[in-house]
Each structure stands twice: as C-alpha cells, then as structure tokens.
C-alpha cells in the first residue's frame, strides 16, 4: 500500500480518463461489413489498434446478417497538448436586449435591417424563428422585439437567390442564414453558394453575413467566408450584439 496521492494531470499530454489518470479508456461503437464471428471481433480489435488503442476489448458484438456491430473498449495512447489549443470564438461583448437598443440609439442612430432565412431545401425553421421571431426561445425575446431592429424572417426553403434579392430590396445590414440539414455536407454547398452570389453582386463587404445551426461553429463559418457562425443554444442577443458591434467596427453605420 503506497501512500501517494493520484497523478496530477499533465495538460501538455492529456489522455482520456476512465478511472485512473492516463488510463486512456475510450468506448467505441461501430459496424463492420463483415460476417459475425471471432474473425469479425478480431477485425474490430485490429482497427482499434490502428487507431492507437492498446488492449482493445470487444465487449459486445452482434450479427446483423453480413454485417457485425461492436462495442469495444480500449486504452488510447495518443495525447493532446491542451495548453496549445486556441479555438476561434465570436469575439463580442454580449449585450442584453435593452443594452442592444441603447447601443443602436447611441452608435448607429437608425434602424438596423436584418433579413433571415432557412435556405435551400431546408425546412427547419425552429432555429431561425428562435432568433428572429418576437417570441424568441427559452425566455429570450427574438429580434422582432428589439427597438431599432427591423427583422424580416423569410421562413423555410428559401432559395439563395430570393434571399439575396430580398436583402437588396430592403437594403439589409445583415443576413442571417440557418442550416440544419447537414447530410452529405449539403449545408456547406448551400452556404458557399450564398457567399458566391453576394460576391457576384458586389455586396459581400457591405453586409454582415452570419450563419447558424446545430452543426455550425464559428470556425466553420469563417472558413466558408462568413463573419460569424453560431451553434446550439444561441439567443437573439448573441447575434444582435455581434451584428451591431461589427457594424460599428466595420463602419457600416
């Protein structure tokens, strides 16, 4: 019985934690297109080893008829240097609704026009409604409720062309795009197409372009040429704060 305290984490070499520091324990589940049996289990173990998991153990496998699914545990040997991680985040001081309204009054001094839509063939409006509609989400009012913001929700299944046309028509300061369906990266296509359209119209620099959805990160948004991206649990005030501060920053007031 030694009497030492447990190992402290080395943040430059982080490993998964099962019940002991650095035991590396990871659970996996997947299916292989091979027939059920000992050989299938071995295939699963070999795969896990290739992933860098020591002592892979198939704790369950099941015959799916030509396919086999597995549950497997193993000890991950890779490490991550946590200290060197920098995640791009929307850099903005979040203001609540009243603060946003005051900000507009003081810094923008006119109505801000925002157009939003769920584009392409995507019919999932709950997300964009949560941001724009009066009622909002989880007790946070939507943009329609903001004095000084004129918000237009175009709803679902809006072609990018229509969205751009509307933005031009109302002279929008910002466009908000929602993308929920991500199968086969359809959102990436859709979002990219919008940027191209805006660029073709010479509008890209004059407008603040924001996207959101459960699989959208700020990083992805920036890669695709957006000013910001918002993921799950976003509220109107997050978006409003960003748009307003960005307008001032980019002198679009």
């Amino acid at each position: 019985m030694s009497k030492t305290a447990p190992a402290k984490v080395d943040l430059t070499k982080v490993k998964p934690y099962g019940d002991t520091m650095n035991d590396g324990m990871v659970q996996l589940s997947f299916t292989l297109p091979v027939p059920y049996g000992e050989e299938a289990n071995e295939a699963a173990r070999i795969l896990a080893k290739k992933m860098g998991l020591d002592e892979p153990s198939v704790v369950f496998s099941k015959d799916l008829g030509g396919y086999t699914c597995f549950i497997l545990y193993g000890k991950c040997q890779h490490t991550v240097d946590y200290t060197s991680i920098k995640v791009p985040k929307v850099e903005v001081e979040v203001m609540d609704r009243l603060e946003c309204e005051k900000f507009i009054e003081e810094n923008i001094k006119r109505d801000v026009v925002i157009v939003g839509a769920c584009t392409g063939t995507d019919a999932h409006t709950v997300g964009i409604d949560a941001i724009i509609n009066m009622k909002g989400y989880h007790g946070h009012f939507g943009l329609e409720r903001y004095k000084g913001i004129q918000a237009i929700n175009m709803g679902s299944q809006v072609p990018n062309e229509e969205l751009v046309a509307k933005a031009i028509e109302v002279n929008a300061d910002a466009i908000l795009v929602s993308q929920i369906v991500t199968q086969k990266d359809i959102h990436v296509q859709n979002l990219t197409e919008l940027v191209e359209l805006l660029e073709a119209e010479g509008l890209r620099d004059k407008i603040i372009l924001v996207c959101g959805g459960p699989r959208i990160s700020h990083e992805l948004a920036q890669e695709l040429g957006y000013d910001a991206g918002f993921g799950p649990d976003t509220y109107a005030e997050n978006v409003a704060s960003f748009v307003l501060e960005e307008m001032v920053k980019r002198k679009l007031v």
Partner: protein, 520 residues
C-alpha cells in the same frame, strides 16, 4: 369497454360531430375542384408511365399539355378516353406520342363525356383489378407468414441509395422490424412530379419512385419469407404529388403511407387548396388498396409545445378521421398520428404523455395509431436519448399503441446508421415483451393527475373543434392554430395547379373505388 380515464362520452361525441361537419364542409370545396396531380394520377392508373427525353415523367407531359390546352377542367380521363376513341391507341402510346410531339390530344375531334368514359372503362377495371390482386397478395402473406405483434416495430431507412436502403432494411427486418419506411429525399415533397426509375442519390432520404417501391417491396417479401413474418413497407405521399404517390403505393403494394394535407400545408408550405383536393383522391386510393394511412399530427409538437398544445393534436386527429370516413377508409386503416414530445425535464411529464396516449387509444379504439418518438428534445447525448426512447416505448406498450416509430438515440445527429436501428429495435423489443400485459393490469386513480389531464385536453380539443366548425378549416389554418404555423389561403406552393371542374368532368376511379368494385 369502460374508459380508464373517465372520459365523458358526450364530449367525445360532440367533438366528433364538429369534426364531421368541418370535413363535410371542406368536402364541398374539394368536390368542385381538381388539380394537376389528381389528373396525373388518373393517367398513372390508366397505365401511363415512363419519362421523356428530358427525364420528365409522361403523366406530367400529358397533363401539362391538357392544362396548356385549357382542358384541365374536364379532367384527363376525358381527354385520354377521347384520344383513344380518335386514335385507337392505348393510353401509354398516346402519352408517348404526345411526348414525342407527334400528337396534340387537345386538337382531336371530341366525343361526348359518356363515350370517353365508356372507352376507358376497361383500362380502369384493369387498374382496379391489379390493385385488388396486390391486396390479395398481402392478405395471403399475412395468412401464411403471419406478422409481428403490435405495436409494430417501425424503422426508417434513409441512405439516399435504394440499394443501400435494401441492405439496411433487410438487416432491420432480421433484427425484428415489422415496418420499413423509406424516408424521401429532402424536398421531394416540393417537386410537382414524381421522379422515375431506381435512384442512388438523395439527401437525408431516398427518392420515392415507383421502381424504388418495387425494388424495396421485393426485398421485403424476400426477407419476410426468410424471417417468417410479413414485413410492411411504408412511404410518404404527402406533398405536391399526394394522389400520384398513393397510386404508385397501391400498385406496388405498399402497406402504409404517410398522407396528410395538413402536414404539407404547415411543414412544407404547400398551398392548402391544392393539397386538400389532392388528399381526397389519394385517400380514396389508399382506402381502396387497404393501405394504412398515417397522419402527421405528431409534427405539430415539433414547432409548438407538446404540453400546451396537446389538444390541437386531438382536434386534428378527429378531423383526419372524418376526412378518412369521407374517403371510405376503414377505421382499422386509420393510422392517426401523435407523439411523445414533452420536455423530458418536466416533472411528471411521463404521466401527461401516458394520459395522452391512453386517451388517443380510447377515442379511436380501432385505429392503428401511429406513435412518434421524441425528436425535439433529443440531443447529442445518445445515452440520455436512448432512455427517452425507452420511456416512449413504455407508454406505447402500456397504452396499446399500434405502430411504433422507433426512436433512434442519434435523432439529433444523423439519419440512422445501421447499428442505431438495431439498438432501437432491441430497446423496443425488450420493453414490449417485458411489459407485455401492463396495460391490462393497471387502473388510474379517480380524478388523479392522469385522469384530469386527459379530461382537460379532450375538453380543449372539443372547444377548438367547435371554433373551427364555425370559422372553417381554411381560416383556422390562416390563424396558425396548428403547430403555431400560419399559412395564407392563397400562399404556398402549387396553387397554380388547382382548377375548378366543369360539368362534364369525370374521374372514373373515384366512384368505383368508393363503392363499386370495392364491395363486389
């Protein structure tokens, strides 16, 4: 059977009678109109199939020609009958020539409506006979192979590739699935035509085409024989092509079809006039083909709150029931929809879900209720999600639901992977077996939380139905009473495809399907 919820039969009757009036009122509107897709359906039933050189379906080519020629008000049946008389060609040959630009059926001499109807009657009878043969084949399978116990285990496949779907569907059947639904590709419901042939590319689903139906039907018959259980096939006929897809389903022996105009209006922004007219013919076909239809009330709870708006589901179920009555669908084929969508963090939420499910069972005792899993409050936490699905399964076996759409623990993430489906099947099979006779065993405390909740929801539903009875269904939809979604009467997609019938209009299938052959 005594109501376990102590529901007041007078309120039930009152709700049902309001719903009947709402449906009858709408039926008057429906009876005056036809649509492009209704007419394309007539053509499909008459055997017209295939595509032109641009991959455009022949039924569309012909109906567009009729419409452009100003003849839609008389109905496609007339024009085909007339063309048959004038050219001596079969409907398919006529369509092909129209597509090739070799024939303009609007420029032919015109026979009388009666003559045209008589001319096509043999084709009509043939179509009906084929459909009946499919029904008999299904019955034969059911008698020889048998079927799974209720609640049926219903899973979806949605790879986009029909051949990949088949692999997964067969695997699921081997693991216990009773019903396979092939989810359609995103936005197919907005297409004003039905794609053709086998398909291998779709987003979040696979195209509904007649060939895909046929391929999947065959695969399920095969695996059904292998596992000794008839495996039902389901697809979607809501949307712009309601009756066409219903007809394809009847021809290819689908067993179940999602079919709900209200769904199209609210969740696909399809014009309400268009789709309510379409719905009628589609349900007549479904009734004739002995297919179970599924309505989409469950969807209301994805946009509106499941606790607050529970009564809208009940009200809509009553309306859907009455629409089905008018289309001569048996109670045993009315797969009215509802769902387990309350916030899992709600104290006693399970009790409210249970109250709702038992109530649905009592209100529609013979209906093969379609019970939808939690979706809205599913998260990336698959372990929690698996438990949410478990409670959903508990409510289902307890309350005697009929068709159990299996919840997938990955609902918030992706359309199901092969293993997701297997673990869901396991979840439901375990619970259904382990709790088999629970419903029989249990009584609810008089005036307890459960009874009171059910009574209150029923009362609210009755109230809403009375309002709709007064205002009419169109106006109700304009006000956003269902799912919190407002739709204008003249908005949405497809209004241009609606047309008022002229006096000579006829659709030879409807009368026969409703009463004729059916009861032969």
């Amino acid at each position: 059977m005594k109501s376990k919820l102590n529901l007041d039969p007078k309120i039930i009757d009152s709700a049902r009678s309001s719903a009947a009036k709402i449906a009858q009122d709408m039926q008057k509107f429906i009876d005056r109109h036809t649509t492009v897709s209704t007419e394309r359906t007539v053509l499909r039933l008459l055997g017209i199939d295939g595509v032109d050189e641009y991959d455009f379906p022949l039924p569309n080519v012909v109906v567009d020609a009729i419409k452009d020629g100003g003849g839609l008000a008389r109905g496609a049946a007339y024009w085909i009958g007339n063309a048959m008389i004038q050219t001596g060609l079969s409907p398919q040959e006529i369509a092909e020539r129209v597509a090739a630009g070799e024939l303009d059926i609007m420029k032919l001499p015109t026979a009388s409506a009666k003559e045209a109807e008589e001319k096509i009657m043999p084709e009509v009878k043939k179509a009906l006979k084929n459909i009946k043969a499919q029904t008999e084949k299904r019955n034969h399978y059911l008698q020889t192979l048998g079927e799974g116990k209720q609640p049926y285990l219903y899973v979806i496949v949605a790879t986009g590739n029909v051949y990949e779907d088949i692999v997964q569907a067969q695997a699921a059947a081997r693991q216990g699935a009773d019903v396979i639904a092939v989810i359609r590709t995103t936005a197919q419901s907005l297409l004003d035509y039905v794609p053709y042939g086998p398909t291998t590319e779709g987003f979040g689903g696979t195209y509904a085409t007649q060939e895909n139906f046929r391929l999947m039907r065959k695969a399920l018959d095969e695996v059904g024989e292998e596992v000794g259980r008839y495996i039902r096939l389901c697809n979607y006929s809501s949307g712009m092509c309601m009756p066409e897809i219903a007809a394809m389903g009847a021809i290819e022996r689908l067993d179940m079809m999602l079919n709900d105009a209200l769904y199209g209006i609210l969740f696909r922004d399809i014009n309400m006039q268009r789709t309510l007219v379409d719905q009628y013919f589609s349900r007549v076909i479904i009734g004739y083909a002995d297919i179970i239809f599924n309505s989409g009330e469950d969807n209301y709870l994805t946009t509106a709150d499941a606790y607050e708006e529970a009564h809208t589901v009940v009200a809509s179920q009553f309306i859907n029931e009455q629409f089905a009555v008018l289309a001569n669908i048996k109670e045993e084929r009315m797969g009215l929809g509802h769902a387990f969508e309350m916030d899992p963090d709600m104290e006693n939420g399970f009790l409210y879900e249970l109250a709702q499910a038992v109530m649905a069972r009592e209100l529609f005792p013979k209906a093969p209720l379609k019970y939808m899993p939690p979706t809205k409050y599913m998260t990336g936490n698959i372990f929690k999600g698996h438990i949410q699905n478990a409670l959903f399964n508990v409510v289902s076996i307890w309350s005697g639901q009929s068709i159990q759409l299996l919840g997938m623990m990955t609902e918030a993430i992706h359309t199901p992977h092969m293993q997701d489906r297997i673990y869901s099947l396991e979840n439901a099979s375990y619970i259904f077996n382990n709790m088999r006779d629970l419903g029989e065993e249990i009584e609810f405390k008089k005036d307890g939380i459960i009874q009171k909740r059910a009574q209150a929801v029923l009362k609210d539903a009755e109230k809403l139905l009375k309002e709709i009875e007064k205002e009419g269904l169109f106006q109700t939809l304009e006000k956003g009473k269902f799912g919190g979604v407002k739709r204008p009467r003249d908005g949405g997609k497809g209004l241009e495809g609606v047309c008022v019938k002229d006096e000579q209009y006829f659709n030879p299938f409807i009368p026969l399907m409703l009463g004729g052959e059916k009861n032969e």
